[in-house]
Amino acid sequence: MVPLSCYLVLSGILFACGVAGFLIKRNIITIFMSIELMLNGANLSFVAFAAQWKALSGQIFVFFVMVVAAAEAAVGLAIIIAVFRTRETLNVDRVNLLKL
């Protein structure tokens, strides 16, 4: 028997890690990965709450989130490729033509 809050805390930690990753990683792909991490954190809490409320809608939500994640992955990686073509780098700090 594990208290629900443990799952939630875990999800919170994962989410936080995702945000932190976005902040500190330089490689665009890695940053994108940390976004996936955030999504996973959210998913976990969905499932956990679903268990709490005995409502399957939470799990279904997770299903849709995964679809979205897939779509985002496809588009996102395509964008990353496009950027790489024009810029020959994957370092976000070097992608700063637009500023001020």
Partner: protein, 677 residues
């Protein structure tokens, strides 16, 4: 039954003349312009005379005609209404009569001017305003005329506008007058505030109910003092007299009409008109008297050393006006008006004569360049002589009566004092001195005008008044030598000469006094309240004052005679003396010659600080360096702020994420804070 005088026509006629000349004059020839001017002024004069004849038929001696409502705002109600009583009748006659004469004179004097139509339309305009001033039945309408004559004199002084001195003189006159009018206005405001009306009849009716303010400061006193300020401006009294001498830049007829006979006397008229107020404000009266005396004395001293013939006359005018002020100050209004009248005659004449002299000598104004003209221009000489003797107060000419009357009243009247009298007498002797000095220098000895002739051809022949320091452009270029003036100029001079000889006789058996008495009835009543110790000394005032009067009269005549003698001695018998004397007292001499440096003083005290202050402090200082600079600074600050703020937009993705997560943290924190009770 009261006849209908149609008083409104009197001022209106000249206005029509002015309008015609002003609008269409440039298309007229000289003759037409002149005749228009003459017709309308003449018509006004004629109607004035007719009114005078009819006047006796008025039982009451009062006549009022209201034309229309002018202003009606809130509870203030002002009409276009005219008012005729003995006082205004006399003024009416003087103004229209002398005015008309001088119109005639100008035809000859200004005949060659290019802008003749302008001249006449201005003159007519002046008549319009002056007559309005005189006939007005309320203070506001009077103020209309008051300001208007100021305008007219501005225009006429600056008639030769291409001359810078003339332009400045005009401006100076107008502004000095404005300063006076400022006082006048405030006075009117007080009247409105406390009496709710400006109409003479209702106003005086309510004032009559008030008792005199013996202890100075009071409503009436302040009103009276403010009105006096206005009068000072118009009538060129200390401290506002400075404009009058400069005003001599104008054509001589103008000086004669406006700056001697009529306009400058408006102040005296106004005080006399509001005598009810002054009666009840002894302090104000005293101030008037003192100012008058001082001005009379002071101006006379300056007149002594002037060499410009017109300047001498100008200062003499100021001095004479001082006399009239003195008279009004001591509540001897009759005497004041009397002197006003006689002065109008002889001073007008003096100016005309001076004009004739200049005419003769080709525009010369410096007396040192004249002399010996007696034989060359006899008519001018004789008329001038009449006037001179009149003003010097030599009996039995007009000046003698009026001046003597004033001096006597200055001593004898309830508010008089021997000090006034003393200064008055001294002034009288000075008057006769400088007048005879002028007389001798101009007409006796031998002609010293070679210099003048020499540089006559040097005169440029542009349109009117290009003639440098000279008032009279063309004259001499046509006929070289010295010559008598044409008839058209002589006739008015002669008429005035006659008047200034016999003018005084109207006071015989107090006719003049009695005639005016209904107007000034209040004066006696008011001043009866106070009694002076001297007159309360036992014996009956009547014969006591009777013999005293004769004594004083002799004294003043003696003073005049002394002045004559001195002048004869210095400028006829031993003409080298004056220089040496001047050298004796060089400093004083120069001070006086430069009119005690009053103009310079004003410049240092008021004009320059004002200009510099507003340029440097207000405009450059506050406007540009404080307000605008402040605005620009704030705008600049905003721009810099935004410039720094946009560095938030570093273009770096991770920074953006940083900002966002910070914001998210803030939002969460806020929500948690609100959410958790």
């Amino acid at each position: 039954m009261t006849p209908n005088f149609h008083l409104w026509l009197i001022p209106l006629l000249p206005l029509v003349g002015a309008a015609i000349n002003g609008l269409f004059g440039r298309r007229f020839g000289r003759k037409l312009a002149a005749s228009v001017g003459l017709t309308f002024s003449g018509a006004a004069c004629a109607q004035g005379l007719w009114v005078a004849l009819e006047f006796s038929s008025l039982g009451t001696g009062l006549y009022r005609e209201s034309l229309a409502v002018w202003i009606h705002a809130g509870d203030l109600h002002v009409d276009f209404a005219f008012y005729l009583d003995q006082l205004s009748l006399i003024m009416l006659l003087i103004v229209s009569g002398v005015g008309f004469l001088i119109h005639i004179y100008s035809v000859g004097y200004m005949g060659k001017e290019a802008g003749l139509y302008r001249f006449f339309s201005y003159l007519n305009l002046f008549l319009f305003f002056m007559l309005t001033l005189v006939l007005a039945s309320n203070y506001l309408l009077m103020f209309v005329g008051w300001e208007g004559v100021g305008l007219a004199s501005y225009l006429l002084i600056g008639f030769w506008f291409t001359k810078d001195q003339a332009a400045s003189a005009g401006k100076k006159a107008f502004i000095a007058n404005r300063i006076g009018d400022f006082g006048f206005l405030i006075g009117l405001f007080l009247l409105i505030k406390h009496f709710g009306s400006l109409d003479f009849e209702s106003l005086f009716a309510s004032i009559q109910l008030r008792s005199p303010e013996t202890q100075g400061a009071g409503l009436l006193t302040s009103i009276a003092l403010l009105l006096m300020v206005g009068a000072c401006g118009k009538s060129a009294q200390i401290p506002l007299y400075v404009w009058l001498p400069d005003a001599m830049e104008g054509p001589t007829p103008v000086s004669a009409l406006i700056h001697a006979a009529t306009m400058v006397t408006a102040g005296i008229y106004m005080i006399a008109r509001s005598h009810l107020i002054f009666d009840r404000a002894p302090v104000a009266g005293m101030t008037v008297a003192i100012l008058g005396t001082l001005t009379a004395f002071f101006a006379a001293t300056i007149a002594i050393v002037q060499t410009d013939i017109k300047k001498v006359l100008a200062y003499s005018t100021i001095s004479q006006l001082g006399y009239m002020f003195l008279a009004c100050g001591v509540a001897a209004y009759t005497a004041g008006i009397f002197h006003l009248m006689t002065h109008a005659f002889f001073k007008g004449l003096l100016f005309l004569a001076a004009g004739a002299v200049m005419h003769a000598t080709g525009g010369e104004q410096d007396m040192r360049a004249m002399g010996g003209l007696r034989t060359k221009i006899p008519w001018t000489f004789w008329t001038m002589t009449m006037a001179t003797f009149a003003i010097a107060g030599i009996p039995p000419l007009a000046g003698f009566f009026s001046k003597d009357e004033i001096l006597w009243q200055a001593y004898a009247s309830a508010r008089g004092s021997w000090l006034y009298w003393l200064l008055g007498v001294i002034t009288a002797s000075m008057t006769s001195f400088y007048m005879f000095r002028l007389w001798f220098l101009t007409f006796f000895g031998e002609y010293r005008g070679g210099r003048a002739q020499a540089h006559l051809p040097a005169q440029p022949a542009g349109p009117g008044g290009q003639a440098g320091s000279h008032n009279l452009p063309r004259v001499s270029s046509e006929h070289g030598g010295i010559h008598e003036s044409p008839k058209v100029m002589l006739v008015p001079m002669v008429i005035l000469a006659v008047l200034s000889v016999v003018g005084g006789w109207v006071s015989y058996h107090h006719t003049f006094e009695n005639f005016l008495s209904p107007v000034f009835r209040g004066a006696g009543a008011a001043s009866a309240v106070e009694t002076r110790p001297s007159s309360s000394a036992g014996e009956s005032p009547l014969e006591e004052s009777g013999e005293r009067e004769t004594l004083f009269t002799t004294l003043s005549v003696a003073a005049a005679a002394f002045g004559f003698f001195l002048a004869w001695l210095l400028y006829h018998r031993r003409p080298e003396l004056p220089k040496s004397i001047a050298h004796e007292i060089l400093g004083l001499y120069h001070t006086v010659l430069h009119k005690y440096y009053v103009d310079e003083l004003y410049a240092i005290l008021f004009v320059n600080p004002l200009l510099k202050g507003s340029a440097k402090l207000l405009w450059r200082g506050i406007d540009q360096n404080v307000i605008d600079a402040g605005l620009d600074a704030s705008a600049h600050a905003t721009r810099r702020l935004s410039d720094t703020m946009r560095h938030m937009q570093s273009g770096n993705l991770r920074s953006y994420a940083g900002w966002m997560s910070l914001g998210a943290a803030a939002v969460i924190a806020y929500m948690v804070w609100t959410g958790i009770p």
